[in-house]
């Protein structure tokens, strides 16, 4: 039994470089690729330092190809790191993979661990034997999951016939039946509609609170992180760009938000027209600029320090009649661009150096 410390995950300069053999076609090409491979290296994760305490809920966010999945695979022991150190729940994941497996649950948004052609219940029952869970404990957990995730409406349906949201609920239950201390979720909300997303977020908050399960989730959706995680890490090209609290993150790195206004058709006709026949709003306040939008909409991008959102709405409403307004928050790509452009990353590193 590993000693119970307060640390759940600790990595030190964790890196992974993939050596990819260029494939040659055909049988003999395939054999030649084994004997005499032509190699190319991809650095998927570089010098990553992570420290996660027990009971934390932490988001790993970054665009596609940032190295999120690769990081999870190293933290579970599926992949051997190229260099660096990693400890999870007191285990060395790659060397003690099978021992660690009983302590963690893993959900991949794009891949199910359920038996595709069989009713959901069959998978949930089999998992007891795969994880050697005592019968009573398993029955208790299963009853709990059925209630919390409302599994009963589809528990006898073959997995292949479930909606994505239902399947994800099934997968969450499957990952938690053996009482893991740590739950990894790789893009758990990908492809889900708003209702399904909300339901899954609610469930994750609940198990984190009531069972004390440590949760590490990856996503490229800022909303997931804001809804769930007090703390997040931003990664890009295998590097950590940011590690800290989520509150205020949009203000710091958020770049521009966008106000999208639906203009009353009568007023729309009175507006002057610019290139591509776009209606033009004249005399915009400082820090606000107009960006292209579908008529009859007008889109205004503005920074947080320019003026508060409601003032911009008031300013616009004083000039033209508005049918409706919505705001678009910057996505992770915008934030990362902003981090690079304003040299924010550099500042963080300098801070780290001056502290250390």
């Amino acid at each position: 039994m590993a000693a119970k410390t307060t640390t759940m995950i600790e990595t030190h300069d964790l890196s992974k470089a993939f050596r990819i053999a260029k494939r040659r076609p055909g049988l003999f090409g395939g054999m030649r690729s084994i004997v005499d491979p032509e190699m190319r290296t991809v650095s998927a994760v570089r010098d990553l330092n992570i420290l996660v305490e027990r009971g934390e809920m932490i988001g790993l966010i970054g665009p596609n190809g940032a190295g999120k999945s690769t990081t999870i695979k190293m933290l579970t022991g599926v992949l051997v790191p190229s260099s660096g150190k990693v400890t999870v729940a007191g285990f060395d994941p790659h060397r003690q993979r099978r021992a660690l497996a009983s302590h963690i649950g893993v959900v991949f948004g794009q891949k199910t661990q359920l038996w595709w052609d069989l009713p959901l219940i069959d998978s949930l029952l089999l998992l007891r034997h795969l994880y050697h869970v005592p019968a009573e404990r398993h029955a208790e957990n299963l009853a709990h999951m059925r209630a919390m995730l409302d599994l009963d409406e589809f528990i006898h349906t073959p997995v292949r016939q479930l909606s994505l949201g239902q399947r994800m609920r099934g997968d969450l239950a499957a990952a938690l039946l053996h009482d893991p201390e740590l739950l990894y979720l790789d893009e758990p909300t990908i492809g889900l509609d708003v209702v399904a997303k909300a339901r899954i977020r609610e469930f994750l908050l609940e198990i984190n609170r009531t069972r004390g399960v440590t949760v590490l989730l990856t996503t490229h959706d800022m909303d997931d992180v804001e809804a769930l995680c007090p703390r997040m890490m931003i990664v890009d090209h295998g590097r950590k760009l940011f590690d800290g609290p989520v509150t205020g993150i949009r203000e710091r790195f958020g770049g521009e938000r966008t106000l999208i206004a639906q203009i009353d058709p009568a007023d729309l006709a009175t507006l002057p027209r610019g290139g591509e026949n776009q209606p033009i709003i004249e005399g915009l306040p400082a820090g606000v600029r107009q960006v292209p939008a579908e008529s009859p909409q007008v889109a205004l991008a503005f920074t947080r320090d320019a003026l508060p959102a409601h003032e911009l709405v008031a300013w616009l409403g004083a000039r033209i009649r508005l049918r409706d307004v919505t705001f678009e928050e910057p996505d992770i790509e915008d934030m990362i661009r902003h981090i690079y452009e304003d040299g924010l990353l550099l500042k963080e590193e300098e801070e780290a150096v001056s502290v250390g």
Partner: protein, 275 residues
């Protein structure tokens, strides 16, 4: 020691449950399954008929009579069917790798090989086993003089068990190659289907180097052909003593051990799939 034994028992019961999941999937389509098994039976029967075509023209083959070759072919067929059945999961391992499902297998606290082996269970292989069994009975009918002893019965069991083990080990080697590239699945097929074809004829039709390979490198002849020679009372290949056939399980165990070590090596350097 005790934990080792209870470990094996719990692994076996888990294996049975995992296969059970596969069977439950297949019996959802009962008609399909029956047609599948029957088709496979017919195909393998046709394959086997080559033996009778040959003996239609010639009386003997290097001193072997039709009944003897028929019995050899039947035992090989049954053994191969058995290996194909229990090796289905290994046979389709490239699919597991390609679909990224091996990640999931590694995330569970039970052995990877057991999970892979039980990932599929192609019931249609029963078609080949049925064919082998029927032809074995037919061959016995052609060999009224064959005198059975306890040693010969034991040797039959040895041959089938060792032969199936070696065929499965070849599938395991083929599966292991998938850790490096998934484009060489044909390589294992050449060895399994080729090996089955080669084993179905008296070994002396091939040259000595070829015989040695199948005796000592991929020891299909050691594990399967030599026991059959023993029970037919035919001389062993390359002048080996008759009693050497009793070592067939040893040859199979050695070969399987080598394949397993290679597999473990492959698992350790598994690089997962992108995306």
């Amino acid at each position: 020691m005790i934990t080792g034994i209870t470990g094996i028992i719990s692994d076996l019961s888990l294996y049975r449950r995992l296969i059970g999941m596969q069977l439950r999937t297949q019996v959802q389509y009962k008609v399909n399954l029956a047609v599948d098994i029957f088709t496979y039976f017919l195909v393998t029967m046709l394959e086997y008929m080559v033996i009778f075509l040959y003996f239609n023209t010639f009386q003997t083959l290097l001193g072997w009579h039709v009944g003897e070759v028929a019995l050899l072919g039947a035992v090989v067929s049954f053994t191969f069917g058995l290996a194909e059945l229990f090796g289905s999961g290994l046979d389709s391992f490239s699919e597991i790798i390609r679909r990224g499902e091996f990640d999931r297998i590694l995330l569970r606290p039970v052995g990877a090989l057991m999970q892979v082996a039980s990932n599929e269970f192609r019931m249609r292989r029963l078609g080949r086993m049925t064919q082998g069994l029927l032809m074995f009975l037919f061959a016995l009918h052609l060999l009224p003089a064959l005198h059975w002893t306890f040693a010969k019965l034991l040797m039959l069991v040895f041959g089938i068990a060792s032969g199936a083990t070696i065929f499965v080990a070849v599938l395991l080697l083929g599966a292991t190659l998938c850790f490096w590239t998934v484009e060489t699945t044909e390589l294992a097929n050449i060895l399994t289907y080729g090996g089955r074809e080669v084993m179905s004829w008296p070994l002396s039709v091939y040259n000595r180097a070829f015989q040695s390979i199948f005796l000592f490198v991929v020891p299909l002849a050691f594990g399967l052909y030599m026991p059959v020679c023993y029970l037919l009372g035919r001389p062993q290949p390359l002048g080996l003593p008759d009693a050497a056939a009793f070592l067939s399980p040893l040859a199979a165990a050695l070969f399987a051990a080598v394949a397993y070590v290679f597999w473990r090596f492959g698992v350790r350097r598994y690089q997962s799939a992108g995306g």
